[in-house]
Symmetry: none
Subunit: 234 residues, 2 copies
DNA sequence: TTATCATTTAACCTTACGTTAACAAAAATG
DNA sequence: CATTTTTGTTAACGTAAGGTTAAATGATAA
């Protein structure tokens, strides 16, 4: 079994810096796809699966944060790292909110960069162990397509789900009949764990219960203080 | 049920900086134990479980890296973050090698610090999935599922248990037919041992007896002054 | 910009939990 | 046997978590 090189999407508009960085990464056995702006970056992202995205924050047309958000909508798991010209506090905070895994200040030391990249990719690798990407579920008489974000009852008209509805239901389905801890959903989907995100989640549970009403055998039970449980009664 | 604060071990020899940082973290709902040097840090580490260690790199007697290595020998999982006076490349690299999760440059922005701490602790939280505890028990004709907190008689409808009911019954089941000392339940479940918690426990014993009534072969006996005994008569 | 949709925040209500108090019963003490 | 200590049991109370709906905010597309 040969070891597959890790694939990195690099989005950086500065041609000099971008090329140097790309070459350096390639020299270190990463497969690098280099996009020159946000649009291009998103196009390339959609076309392939990456192990890491490195996004410049300052870019014309579409800045790194906007791009990050688009990427996050498609994929909740890819590690994202931001490049900032200097450590601007607002940037850093904004980055973490969008789900950044780290950020790097330009100019940075190349060895440090490599180390960080390695650490981040490895981290994800261990997390994603049994997290087999599953996107379709049978939930009683419902069919959930988590990739296209719809839920269909029997053979009827599919209902469109919002991103949050979709991810929450998917997370419940992944733990069918078992406990899905509150904390897990909050940290994975909301990327934060506080009173308000928790209440927000409750609102979404209510929405899902409404969607699932047609099949009285399917219910979302609460385990007080712990989380929720999607059960399908036989 | 009260939310447990996350516990942080802070090892920092500079009294001013250390105190300020400690207070700031405590203001933000972390439980902080502050050690003034590496030795003390290791002692404190051995005495308790922490969610995060923040280690100053430059310390007399025992530097942060050495301490980190000792900590890693005892515990492979605690997140470790280093404090460095300035971003010295060697330090950073060395830190990552020892298994650092991140490093912070002094002086740093307090909000950024909080954000990072939050992110790191969260990361670990999701990694720690199932610690192979025993969650299921057969008690006479009952089945106890301690993870989902329910108790089922024969094949009937499961009864939901509250956290305390659940833990207490689980502890009894772990000592089936044997003495479960009062003190054990009080210290492990109530985390306190006084007149009132003791009475509270008695209330829960009464509740459990009620739940267990359907099977007359199952009973909770009292051993005066000692504790309780869950017996299953044949 | 307006219109539309997703998400968060607020409000209000219900349920769940745990503690405490009160009183009764049992066991130990001397 | 009288008295003290421990346990059994029920009910009331205060607090926290969850259910639900609606309004406010934010983001996106026309």
């Amino acid at each position: 079994m040969e070891e597959q090189n890790k694939k990195i999407l690099l989005v950086e508009d500065d041609p000099n810096f971008g090329t140097v960085l790309r070459d350096y990464l390639m020299m270190n056995d990463y497969d690098v796809v280099h996009a020159k702006n946000g649009m291009e970056g998103f196009e390339k992202f959609k076309k392939d699966d990456y192990d890491l995205c490195i996004l410049d924050v300052m870019m014309p047309y579409k800045d790194g944060f906007t791009l990050a958000k688009e990427i996050r909508e498609k994929n909740t798991d890819v590690p994202i790292v931001f490049l900032t010209a200097k450590a601007m506090k607002e940037d850093v905070l904004k980055g973490y909110k969008v789900g950044a895994d780290d950020y790097l200040n330009k100019p940075f030391d190349s060895e440090v960069l490599l180390m960080k990249i390695k650490a981040i990719i490895q981290r994800k690798a261990t997390e994603t162990i049994a997290d087999s990407k599953q996107f379709e579920f049978e939930i009683g008489r419902f069919h959930l397509n988590s990739k296209l974000r719809f839920l269909r009852f029997d053979g009827g008209e599919p209902v469109k789900l919002s991103p949050k509805e979709n991810e929450l239901l998917r997370m419940l389905a992944l733990h069918e009949n078992d406990l899905m801890p509150r904390e897990l959903a909050l940290t994975k989907i909301w990327r934060d764990d506080n009173y308000f995100t928790s209440r927000s989640m409750d609102v979404y549970i209510a929405k899902l219960r409404k969607y699932l009403k047609p099949d009285e055998k399917v219910e979302i039970l609460n385990i007080h203080g712990e989380g929720f449980r999607l059960v399908v009664n036989s």
